[in-house]
């Protein structure tokens, strides 16, 4: 296959480079696809790989094409939800809290992992690092995930503020990886001296790449926060909302749905109420965020 692709084809098609024409816009499809946004908890390629089965499942059950929408930041995804540009979204805990309080972002279902609907922020350092707490990371390089991330930014900022400082002074340098798995890799590769990551992503990444566990070390675990939920625009048609909710809740009972859940490391989807996110809401209120 490689050899066949290496040689140019014998015939040479004629193309006139100066023959410029306006580009045709995207073909409007007769059936509007269900647009599903996945916030960049993990890297875009990882997201595509993990969510492929879930999206296929939804498309199959709804008899409707499903389109995956990704954006670099949580804020961009929130904006898409607010304007109705996406129908369904997998967002981060803090993004939900902000969205809920801003424009009534509606909680549809929440995943249950290891029998619980909570997750933690894990403070990780390279395996060889001598740091035992956030205090030991003073003057070091720290990797944030997303400016809006609960586990990746809010909680470590909170820890630094508890030490009477602010990230800008406390760390020698900070940078954003915009996804949790990239933050784990940044620490594992020694690019950052520390990072705070989503415990779900960390467990999932370590399960897929066991050597990450050998190259990183957890030095602190936060109190539990409400698990990153599945949300919708408050104006979504009630019929579609009910259909989606029922479909997601019943996925675990279906072999194909079960496989799709396994691919994203979720046992099943469950109903959850907004108060489950109050701890995150409190944290958000307590933390004074600097401009990223």
């Amino acid at each position: 296959m490689l050899a066949a692709a290496c040689r140019p084809a014998a015939d040479t098609p004629v193309v006139y480079l100066s023959d410029r024409r306006p580009l045709a816009g995207p073909v409007s499809e007769a059936v509007r696809p269900l647009r599903v946004a996945v916030a960049a908890v993990i890297s875009p390629q990882g997201t595509v790989a993990s969510y492929q089965l879930l999206l296929s499942y939804l498309a199959d059950r709804l008899s409707r094409p499903v389109e995956l929408v990704q954006r670099r930041t949580y804020a961009e995804v929130n904006a898409l939800i607010e304007t109705g540009a996406v129908d369904l979204a997998f967002v981060c805990t803090s993004a939900y809290v902000v969205g809920h309080d801003d424009f009534n972002m509606e909680l549809l279902v929440a995943p249950r992992v290891n029998g619980r609907t909570v997750y933690y922020s894990l403070l990780i350092v390279p395996q060889a690092s001598s740091a035992a707490s956030m205090a030991d990371l003073q003057g070091k390089v720290f990797a944030f995930t997303d400016p809006m991330s609960n586990s990746g930014r809010l909680y470590p900022t909170y820890l630094v503020q508890q030490l009477g400082s602010a990230p800008g002074q406390f760390f020698s340098r900070t940078f954003y990886t915009y996804s949790h798995d990239d933050a784990i890799h940044a620490v594992a590769d020694g690019l950052a001296d520390g990072a705070a990551v989503d415990s779900l992503v960390y467990d999932f990444a370590v399960a897929r790449e066991p050597d990450l566990a050998e190259r990183t070390r957890i030095i602190h675990r936060s109190p539990p926060f409400g698990i990153p939920p599945v949300v919708i625009n408050p104006d979504l048609r009630p019929q579609l909302k009910a259909e989606l909710q029922s479909l997601l809740l019943n996925m675990a009972g279906d072999p194909q749905g079960s496989a799709a859940l396994q691919a994203i490391g979720v046992e099943r989807f469950v109903l959850l109420n907004d108060p489950a996110y109050n701890s995150a809401r409190d944290l958000l209120a307590a933390v004074r965020l600097e401009e990223p």
């Binding site: 040689r7 004629v14 006139y16 480079l17 410029r20 024409r21």
Partner: protein, 514 residues
């Protein structure tokens, strides 16, 4: 110039002959220059051609490899940008790709549905480009060559994220490669031209050294051919041409010696012939004088005696005998006079050539019953040297004798004229003529030989014009010494050689052999 090639039959030899006709016609200098120029050009052009072909192939391969690496790099870096729909960053990436890779003509990214997400064309997008190439999800890459109005373009398609995020397309133009190849070709051609100039200059110098002795030899040989046997050439170098120069020098030396010997022999012979002729003339003169002075006087005395005897005796018988004897004596006296005149007309010595020739022409007409026209111009004012007069007299005598004996002519004409230091005699007849190279009978040949000998002894020439049935003409031209006429030397018509021959008859006069 002959060549073994010329003798070979067949169509091959025709072209070889043509080639030789061209190559053989030019000088050695041109041949060597041609060979040097030909070899330098052949070498230069073949190296240029070879380098150009190899360079083109290598650079095309490199271009193709570059196309693949650039496209794969682009595909890898574009993945996340496409997934998070960051079209501005994608556009920046394409522009950077084009900026950082000199040969990249264009780059663009197509999504899964075949929509162009970003491209480097600015305004609009080339119509047929999108459909021209594609890559399957499992392809490493897929490269095709496109023919565009800007030349060939290596278009490489690489699937992005196994095709799930679309396809990256990169087009690498051959323009840079062609420019580099053209530049190298130009430099090689320039080098070839410079080497040709250097080679031709060196060859010109070399051939100048080589052909200078040959040209000098040719000049010397030409001079030898024109009689200058003193030519010698230096031995330029210790090689074949040096040997040739030595051989040439030896040859001319031999020739010079032989020429000197022949000249000496010729002089001796001329001196001998001249001596013989002078002796002959002296002898004739002496016999004629003897006949005139002695025999004529005796016969005259006899006639006087017989007249006295006739007067003294009245006997009719005696009278009749005396009359008869007187007739015999008178006839004998006339014969003796004729004989003396034929041997050496005293009128030639006393009155000069014109009178002698007039007398001879009258005698000849009378004796042979033929007509002769005698015309003389420029002879009256001053007498010619004695030896010239004698020679001309004998030449006319011999020529008219030949006419009478062999030509079967009715009329002859003799013209003797002196003109510009040359005396010329033309003897013509209307007889049967003869073929000059063969020149008739032995006797006639001998006569002509005598005429030529006399003319040449005085530095003159004989020209014979004759054709069977159309009569014959003899042209004799004898130069005169300077002293004969003022302004003669200015004409410079007489060679040293002809002047040298003059003293010989004088010498023979000074020392008569009889």
């Amino acid at each position: 110039m002959s060549s073994p090639l010329l003798t070979q039959p067949g169509s091959h030899s025709f072209w070889l002959n043509r080639l030789w006709a061209v190559a053989g016609a030019v000088s050695i200098r041109t041949k060597i220059l041609g060979i040097v120029l030909g070899l330098v050009l052949l070498l230069g052009l073949s190296v240029t051609f070879q380098v150009r072909a190899t360079l083109t192939r290598t650079m095309d391969d490199q271009l193709q490899e570059q196309a693949v690496s650039v496209a794969r790099d682009l595909a890898a870096r574009a993945t996340d940008l496409i997934l998070i729909n960051d079209l501005y960053a994608l556009h920046q990436l394409l522009r950077e790709t084009q900026t950082n890779n000199g040969n990249v003509r264009y780059a663009f990214v197509v999504d899964e549905q075949g929509n162009v997400l970003a491209h480097t064309f600015g305004d609009g997008f080339p119509g047929d480009l999108l459909a021209a190439n594609s890559a399957g999800p499992d392809d490493h890459h897929h490269t095709i060559i496109l023919s565009t109005e800007e030349g060939k373009v290596w278009d490489t398609a690489v699937p992005i994220f196994e095709g799930r995020a679309g396809t990256a397309r990169v087009g690498l133009s051959e323009v840079g490669v062609r420019r580099a190849v053209t530049s190298v070709t130009g430099q090689l051609l320039l080098t070839t031209i410079l080497m040709s100039v250097v080679g031709v200059t060196a060859a010109a110098l070399l051939t100048w050294f080589l052909t200078r002795p040959i040209l000098r030899l040719a000049e010397a040989a030409q001079a030898v051919g024109q009689g200058d046997l003193g030519q010698r050439v230096p031995r330029w170098a210790d090689d074949e041409i040096g040997d040739l120069a030595d051989a040439f020098n030896a040859l001319t030396e031999t020739l010079q010696r032989a020429a000197a010997e022949r000249s000496e022999r010729d002089q001796l012979r001329a001196r001998y012939v001249s001596g013989v002729m002078a002796a002959q003339e002296e002898e004739r003169k002496r016999i004629a004088r003897e006949l005139h002075d002695s025999t004529s006087q005796s016969l005259t005395s006899l006639l006087v005696g017989l007249r006295a005897l006739g007067n003294a005796c009245d006997l009719p018988e005696v009278q009749q005998h005396v009359a008869e004897l007187r007739g015999v004596a008178a006839e004998a006296l006339r014969d003796v006079h004729d004989l003396a005149r034929q041997l050496r007309p005293s009128v030639l010595d006393d009155l000069g050539l014109p009178a002698a020739l007039e007398r001879y022409a009258a005698d000849w007409q009378r004796r042979h019953a033929l007509t002769v026209d005698l015309a003389m111009r420029g002879l009256k004012e001053e007498r010619l040297p004695m030896e010239v007069e004698t020679a001309l007299y004998r030449i006319v005598q011999e020529a008219l004798t030949n006419v009478a004996r062999h030509a079967q002519a009715t009329t002859a004409s003799v013209l003797v004229e002196r003109h510009d230091g040359v005396v010329r005699a033309i003897i013509e007849d209307d007889g049967r003529g003869f073929d000059p190279p063969v020149a008739g009978q032995t006797e006639q040949r001998l006569g002509l030989y005598g005429i030529r000998e006399r003319a040449e002894l005085l530095g003159g020439t004989l020209t014979i014009e004759s054709e069977a049935g159309l009569g014959s003409s003899l042209f004799v031209e004898i130069p005169l010494p300077f002293s004969q006429k003022p302004g003669f030397s200015a004409k410079n018509l007489v060679s040293t050689e002809s002047l040298n021959s003059y003293p010989l008859p004088h010498d023979s006069h000074a020392h008569p052999s009889g």
